[in-house]
């Protein structure tokens, strides 16, 4: 029995709502009225289903764990983590890079593909941008927690002070601080700006006075006048044009955090593009992973169709090939170069104590996405979830390899060390996953999951073409 037959026998997704190869970008029977009603329905409904309440309860439990972990960290210091000399960057930096890469995928979809005028992004950009802001918030927590004395984080800002000390602007770590700050602020503004017309729709669609007031305040008085649309469109286009280079620069700078150091395995000119490839891969995987439950649970099958799965699957495959190329080049430059320590480190990576993590990275990031060559798999929700999940785990493993393996094997064998994460490392990681899920759940509870004003453009354009 094949996996596909087994799935049908079990009744998993064996219904008419599954993605199909010839699906259009939006179901042809949808009009702007029906689309608006369908998308407004989940946030406007009075009571929410059990799945939402249970998910929120579980995620809130993780947030409580995060608060406890952070509280204990503030009290006892970073010694509660597994970091020590020489592995001074442990989970905090692994998780930071992992989260910020997940965040970047959202911006790629919403900004880069907006500039490329591709219609399919209109159904996914809200989900993608929401992923961006909550993943970026989780990412931004880590460098601050990692400071040792987090309450002095404001020392990173350049301001005149009585100590007459200024930040060292020649350090990529400070570039990173500014880049992340700019990225988080710009992402939140881009997300909110993109929401304004839909908030106005929610205001006008809501029946209950308190909901009308709530969405009315958030909609900032937007009424859809011709003048407002004119400037709105120009502003949105400008923001997209600014966000696209911003996201690439942010991930390049994250790569420079590593490449700027004279550390084995890090000091490489390929790190900035390598990190951008990784961001693309994990971002697309995160969007796919969350688009599937959103589609099913919120009744968005007419808007997130087989066409979206097909395209996202191809993008995942392409970015996986780019990441695979970077892994290959890492091996090539190591053995092409003269540094014996680099070669020793690489051999340790592929055959040493932590080799299973390296090979898990290759398996999840390069080999598993190759399944996406087959359309049948790209359209299979269960397999897409599994492949995306594998990539998310694989990208975490990749950061573990980069951070831990390089630091534990320095140039001097006398300075070699080890790294074992503690329970507080793990609890902080799971806590941020909870924080991310809480953010997403609240967003789908209150806000439209698909950009309605952009979907109207697609629906009307299709209707005109049909005529």
């Amino acid at each position: 029995m094949t996996l596909f037959q087994a799935r049908s026998t079990l009744g998993v997704f064996a219904d008419d709502r599954r993605p199909r190869a010839n699906d259009p970008i939006v179901a042809p029977e949808q009009t702007i009225s029906t689309m608006t009603t369908t998308i407004c329905a989940p946030p406007l409904r009075e009571k929410w289903p059990l799945w939402w309440k249970l998910s929120l309860a579980a995620a809130l439990l993780l947030v409580v764990i995060l608060v406890i972990a952070i509280g204990w960290l503030f009290y006892a210091g970073v010694g509660i983590w597994g970091i020590d000399w020489p592995v001074v960057w442990g989970f905090a930096i692994i998780n930071y890079v992992w989260w910020i890469a997940i965040a970047s995928g959202g911006t790629f979809i919403s900004a880069l593909f907006y500039l490329a005028e591709v219609e399919w992004r209109n159904a996914l950009n809200r989900i993608a941008e929401t992923i961006t802001i909550f993943a970026a918030a989780c990412a931004a927590l880590y460098p601050i927690l990692h400071l040792g004395r987090p309450w002095l984080f404001y020392w990173l800002f350049p301001y005149p002070n009585v100590m007459t000390v200024w930040p060292q602007f020649r350090s990529p770590l400070l570039w990173d601080f500014v880049a992340i700050l700019a990225y988080v602020v710009a992402s939140i503004l881009f997300w909110y700006f993109g929401l304004v017309p839909d908030l106005a729709t929610m205001r006008d669609k809501a029946e209950a006075p308190h909901k009308r007031r709530f969405y009315g305040v958030l909609a900032l008085g937007f009424r859809g006048s011709e003048n407002a649309w004119r400037y709105y469109h120009v502003g949105y286009g400008l923001l997209a044009a600014l966000m696209a280079p911003l996201v690439i620069s942010v991930h390049s700078i994250v790569g420079l955090d590593f490449a700027g150091a004279a550390t084995l395995g890090w000091h490489s000119t390929q790190f900035p593009p390598f990190f951008v490839f990784g961001a693309l891969l994990s971002g697309f995987a995160a969007v796919m992973l969350l688009a599937i439950p959103a589609r099913r649970l919120l009744g968005l099958e007419d808007f997130i169709t087989g066409r979206h799965f097909d395209i996202l699957g191809k993008l995942l495959l392409t970015s996986s090939l780019c990441v695979g190329y970077a892994y290959l080049m890492e091996a090539f430059t190591t053995f092409y170069g003269p540094d014996a320590a680099e070669k020793r480190l690489f051999v340790d990576k592929v055959g040493g104590e932590l080799a299973p993590i390296y090979w898990a990275t290759i398996l999840f990031n390069v080999l598993t996405p190759q399944l996406m060559w087959w359309r049948r798999i790209r359209l299979n929700e269960l397999l897409v979830v599994l492949v995306s999940l594998a990539v998310i785990v694989g990208m975490w493993c990749e950061r573990y390899v980069i951070v831990v393996m390089s630091l534990r094997r320095t140039h001097l064998p006398s300075a070699w060390g080890g790294y074992t994460p503690t329970i507080w490392d793990w609890l902080t990681l799971f806590g941020t996953i909870g924080l991310f899920i809480v953010g997403l759940l609240i967003a789908v509870r209150l806000l439209p999951t698909v950009s309605m004003f952009e979907m109207r453009e697609v629906i009307l354009r299709n209707a005109r073409q049909d005529r």
């Binding site: 602007f169 009424r223 003048n227 620069s249």
Partner: protein
Amino acid sequence: MSREDKTLMAPNGLAATFLSEEASLAALARLDEANVGDTQLFSPLAPERTPRPTRLPAVALALGLLGAGGAFGLQTYANVVAYPLDVGGRPPFSWPSFIPIAFEVGILSAVLATIIGAGALCGFTRYYDPVDRTRAIRDAMIDRWVIVVRAVNSDALARSRDIMQDCDARMIEEAEL
């Protein structure tokens, strides 16, 4: 003005809803031709009419460059004048390393300029507008194209109504605007 005066005041405006952009634009063209008064179109998505040029991109660029220049200047001041520090023998004015922060601050400045500029031009935070007195405006962000006319006199108001009816308006209502 007392409540009694208000109720006696005749409506001076008209709001009409249309099912399509084509119908609303046709009506708008005829209303403008008839010179009935100020007309405004409200729609659930941006109309496809040719957009007029705006200075917003130029303003965003200027403020972006200002932000980038300011960040570059601050870094130069901090690392060259206020706190010169020898890092591996590099010169204090190691300008290439000031570029990433200048770039990020430049982008952030342009983003802020765009948000504030576009927000001001779009009329963000204008929570009340006389058109809110019409029922029709509540459909404009859902699935209708709404034309609002502020007629110059009662004759223009009557002509507006005729034009709207001719152009297949679905709902026409009079209001004080």
